[in-house]
Subunit: 366 residues, 2 copies
Amino acid sequence: MTVTISIDAMGGDHGVSVTVAAAIDLLKEHPNCRILLVGQLAAIHHALKKIPHDLRDHVTVVEATEVVAMDDSVEVALRKKKNSSMRIAIELVKDGQADAIVSAGNTGALMAISRYLLKTLAGIDRPAIATRMPNQKGTGTTVLDLGANSDCEAFHLLQFAQMADVMVRVIDDKDKPTIGLLNIGEEVIKGNEVVKQAGVLLRNSSLNFRGNVEGNDIFKGTTDIVVCDGFVGNVALKTSEGLASMISQMIKEEFGRSLFTKFLSFLALPILLRFRKRVDHRRYNGAMLLGLRGLVIKSHGSADRYAFYVALTRAYEAANNRMVEKIATAFDLIEKQKLTEVVKTVPNSGSENTLALQSTPPNATT
Amino acid sequence: MTVTISIDAMGGDHGVSVTVAAAIDLLKEHPNCRILLVGQLAAIHHALKKIPHDLRDHVTVVEATEVVAMDDSVEVALRKKKNSSMRIAIELVKDGQADAIVSAGNTGALMAISRYLLKTLAGIDRPAIATRMPNQKGTGTTVLDLGANSDCEAFHLLQFAQMADVMVRVIDDKDKPTIGLLNIGEEVIKGNEVVKQAGVLLRNSSLNFRGNVEGNDIFKGTTDIVVCDGFVGNVALKTSEGLASMISQMIKEEFGRSLFTKFLSFLALPILLRFRKRVDHRRYNGAMLLGLRGLVIKSHGSADRYAFYVALTRAYEAANNRMVEKIATAFDLIEKQKLTEVVKTVPNSGSENTLALQSTPPNATT
């Protein structure tokens, strides 16, 4: 099967110099891949000069005259820039011409336009942003939501867990991924009201729920998936980025103090490089916008060629494994189960019924 | 002036072997200090054998027959263990026999007992836990709340900022400390509802408020103080601890791979030690329970002798600088200003008035 990926070629801090180069790297790896490069023709064609002759047929250039800026409001991106590279790249997924779209552009705009054009899957109230963060086990912990939903209800957190469950099963090929609820203590009574309620829903679900986890469990790899609202997830992600950046700065300073320490850093270069590779955040680039009727991957805005290539690879794998269809199927099943449960519990409408209804969002059927 | 510190000698993972040893270290540094060691007599006297003769007079041992365990519920700690070392150590502050209390025990219990015995200062609705985290500037960023309040309203965040403002002025001797509101973007419209409202209150306050900051700003040192609710703060803290621990584990592994890398780590020891010192979390041990009618300092449960000594030093400095009195005075002023503002705005009770009233908690006068 051919996998077609549309790329917002203008997105991110470096634009075509990164996006087109990374696309070529992806094509070299995956012969069954096609790329649609969306953006300003002159810039893309210029960047495409370096493409090997045999790969040129795998690329189609699609014109887009506008670009969503990093500081454009969602309003401007959605209403005023209808010819943006981001929007046209997403439309290609909507029209069935591409299996996934990757953008390093403005996250808020990407989420808003994707949601507007692609819509959410049946049974999903809100899309969420999920990414993998490194852990001590070397497996990567999938964390969501990372900023799409600042105010969440308990059933949103349940849905995030359900979506991530499918994502990890599909992409990491894990049978029953373990799930933790990000909290401020392991005990059931800990946390704010929403998290306590989410704990109840998760314990009553068919997911492999392991209870509350704390911030440090993300890096321990205690569970395959960590669920939280978008505010908390975003703070955890940015705090980690900040600390990693401070530590790497300090390592540089300490090894740069004198001629002797510089000489040592030269000797220790293989160690330092291997260490850097292990904590290299670029290896984890490519966050998924989960819950949409189409595959949307967000790359870090500052991604370089390698990081953007990683995001493209994630898009390729998810599309190749038909992730969106599998999430849709999973939610169809959940909806059917819910209906069965409601029917079953109607005669004796006790506390069980209340619980079953709690897990249904107000507008689950829309 | 003499500074008297009462110590919950039994608290923490290591009990008297750490708490008493660290107390002796503090006495060596500060001749005007007195220590009240609260706990089981035999254990404390045994640990006191190593105290230099001239310092023995600076120490009083106070008996407490019970110990609050790390996994005791707040209920048990508060209602059942009335003779715990933690409780008696706090009572010494209440009775004016000590200027501060330091414990490495159960955080929830420490907060509950402190709040029950000492009460909150006038104008303060809820106490908060504040600590310093390292930053690239080397100055330390004061972050609060770190877990005392999972569900916060906007005016709680304002109060946290007001308390931290006094704390940093007193302890770090900064004139007008800068304050950031932890959020998921710099723009005013970002964040959940509580944070957005808190932004309005902070902008209308007399504090040196610099707007929204993100997780990475904690380690950049963008502002002296970062304000957030206890859920978010706890996640940020634990996530940082987890990442730091993963990175230090990886550095160890990379330098331990072969004889050659071990030899290199021997050569690089001064660099590695200096690096470790810079990121050493022990240097930041000692969180303040702010907003109480007494000085309560929480040490990390796993603190070693040096870390507990640092927490004691923070207690000493805060007591020596009369921090609690200064916070009380600041809140008296704030309350008086509020009254004046309300009187001023009563004739034309428009939107301004609503804003002034918003910053007043429902039970501010109790």
